[in-house]
Assembly symmetry: C2
Homo-oligomer: 391 residues x 2
């Protein structure tokens, strides 16, 4: 095994305007580099308590079981299903993008009988369509994606609690690209279980999955006939570490928890309402600029997810060369399309620390420059259109 030892890393300073990870605030990066302490150190137990309290505030919940799981957002998704679903349970899943499909797949791997209800990619999931598909039968859980990262669609939560009640089901929500960027209000919406990631609107590097579970969800967990198939994500065991027992389960990712502590602090210092308004304002300015450029936004205005904007790739323009030029010439990352939108759309994220007037103008200018070099003629003045809305 001879290997020449690689040089130390000197990562480039990108501007991250894709679907995540998003730009990380300097104080969050600094927090990651603070000295590691032990996972049972009294100091660290205090950090955990503060993280939980701040997460509850950002989720809008009083749920006791509210904490970051030691994995990325997808581990949060798996956490909900392995804990709340038993073999033979019936789960109704709304699918209007990659992540609804993934929930259905994860539920199947838990032995659930899964019924999926589809909506076109780029449109909201409709509670009435799910109601019709349920045919009045009993379901153990319904699951939907609040903010579809693959399409940039935001679906309001309000109609789904009533549906869950009619079916006797738990109400499960994917909030990966909404937490910290748009209102969620877990308790007000009667959400039973929700998960998110850190690398979107919280602007912390990827690696943790905040989750929150209602009393009703915890009652289902406690009444399970067999133990969850995952030991690593077993919420009863993990709850004993995060709770007053402080029972050792696994070694918590200490420095990542420093990072989310600082990211949550920044969100609460800004104020959630101000933060949501900022995301909405910059998304509108970006949209106006993109339309002035002559580009189309496939998602209807009322369904757009402020942190993530879907842009159709116009006829005659190739996907990859544009993204490559943005990255190489301007150091800007935007996202390609997934699934139905692969090669047909870009995804532009203005999330967390990255949702700034500067990034709106930078993105529009760089995209304009890149498309112009490929022969595209702008319809109007994208910068002027954006400025008018930036206030």
């Amino acid at each position: 095994m001879t290997l020449s030892v690689p040089a130390p890393l000197v990562p480039p300073a990108r501007v991250l305007l894709g679907p995540g990870p998003s730009d990380v605030a300097p104080s969050v990066l600094r927090a990651l580099a603070a000295p590691t302490v032990g996972h049972l150190d009294p100091y660290f137990l205090g950090v955990m308590d503060e993280v939980r309290a701040m997460l509850r505030a950002v989720f809008g919940t009083k749920n006791t079981i509210t904490m970051p799981m030691s994995g990325t957002g997808s581990a949060g998704m798996e956490t909900l299903f392995v804990n709340l679903i038993e073999p033979g349970d019936r789960v109704l899943v709304g699918v209007h993008g990659v992540f609804g499909g993934r929930m259905a797949e994860v539920a199947r791997r838990c032995g659930a009988e899964v019924v999926t209800v589809s909506a076109p990619w780029g449109r909201e999931i409709d509670a009435d369509a799910m109601r019709a598909a349920a045919k009045g039968q009993r379901f153990d859980a319904i699951a939907m994606v609040h903010a579809e990262t693959s399409t940039g669609v935001l679906t309001p939560l309000a109609p789904f609690r009533a549906l869950a009640d009619e079916l006797g089901a738990l109400f499960l929500v994917d909030a990966v690209t909404s937490l910290g960027g748009v209102p969620i209000d877990v308790d007000a919406h009667g959400v039973d279980a929700i998960y998110s990631g850190t690398q979107k609107c919280l602007s912390c590097p990827p690696g943790l999955a905040p989750v929150s579970l209602s009393e009703r969800a915890m009652a289902k967990l406690k009444s399970r006939k067999i133990r969850p198939q995952s030991w690593y994500l077993d919420l009863e065991l993990i709850g004993s570490y995060w709770g007053s027992e402080r029972a050792y389960h696994h070694t918590a990712p200490i420095n990542m928890l420093y990072g989310i502590h600082e990211a949550l602090r920044l969100a609460l210092e800004e104020g959630l309402d101000a933060r949501f308004a900022r995301h909405a304002r910059h998304a509108k300015a970006l949209a106006a600029g993109l339309q002035a450029l002559g580009l189309e936004l496939p998602v209807p205005e009322g369904s757009r997810l402020p942190p993530l904007t879907l842009v159709a790739i116009p006829e005659g323009i190739e996907d990859a060369p544009v993204r490559k030029a943005l990255l190489q010439r301007y150091g800007i990352e935007i996202g390609g399309g997934l699934g139905d939108f692969k090669g047909r759309a870009w995804r532009i994220g203005l999330m967390g620390s990255g949702s700034t007037p500067r990034n709106v103008l930078l993105c529009l200018g760089a995209l304009h420059g890149t498309l112009a070099a490929m022969g595209w003629k702008a319809k109007g003045d994208p910068i002027a259109a954006a400025i008018a809305l930036l206030g």
Copy 2:
């Protein structure tokens, strides 16, 4: 939801001499704070390739499937079992501490029929005892803990490959507290699947779980009748992201991967043989000092795990006050006992960057001072005893 926003964290600078996390090198902490790039950024794909190449060198393997999973060491354990074990598979597990017991539990949650073979805590697991328990029957996998973090026992790997061959079984190994601190030589020992953590002898903060799987293990995975019960840890899907396809699975924990890159770099720059010798030398010096203090080491000399030393708590001395005094007065963390050793032993780690002459003397001095304040009389001169072996 009114919450007064907590102050920014200012974690104390501990000396981490417990069972992990271990002291993190300054350059690793700095690496964590480097600018986050996208998980599909060409720059990051290069980082991934270097991490894999370095991990192969540290594991001593040419296995293609060698990479860090996006979770802590326990996620590495779960990765092996959910991918390699199907319901009804028969698994033979050696149990001589917490982590062998945990492997048995995780295997059961995968639907395996588990046969456990116990050895006393503080002693090695015996391949012949496992052979006897197998009664010549077919097993799909045998699993053992190379370095038992709960007891500080190192069990040589050599006898287990022959046993696996006799039983037609895959050979699974827990190397959480050995990787980077003692030789492993995955290929030479015919290990089929192995996992570790980053927060022990690699001296990177917790949050990643390096794993490596042989061709034989991958053949078992590919011939599964049903898909792994975990989507998050599904190695076929994850292999497509880490492999040449670069297919999106989940968002990799970018900054943690910067950290392990630097930690692996430091290990290879030092040279593995020099690093193993360093761990062995400092463990011997610590042991001599502890014995000069009049303390007993429950693990026989030939079975001791250099990175982690088990020390019996002497008659008349209470566990918690000693650890509290070490932490409060000297900022030193040592570990309490687990399971059979709870309240009866301490665990002192000299791992990775923390395995230094300075920490040997510091630990002995602080323990001497703390015990003396509780009326303990040292048998000899612990510092002199250690110095004699530090060279």
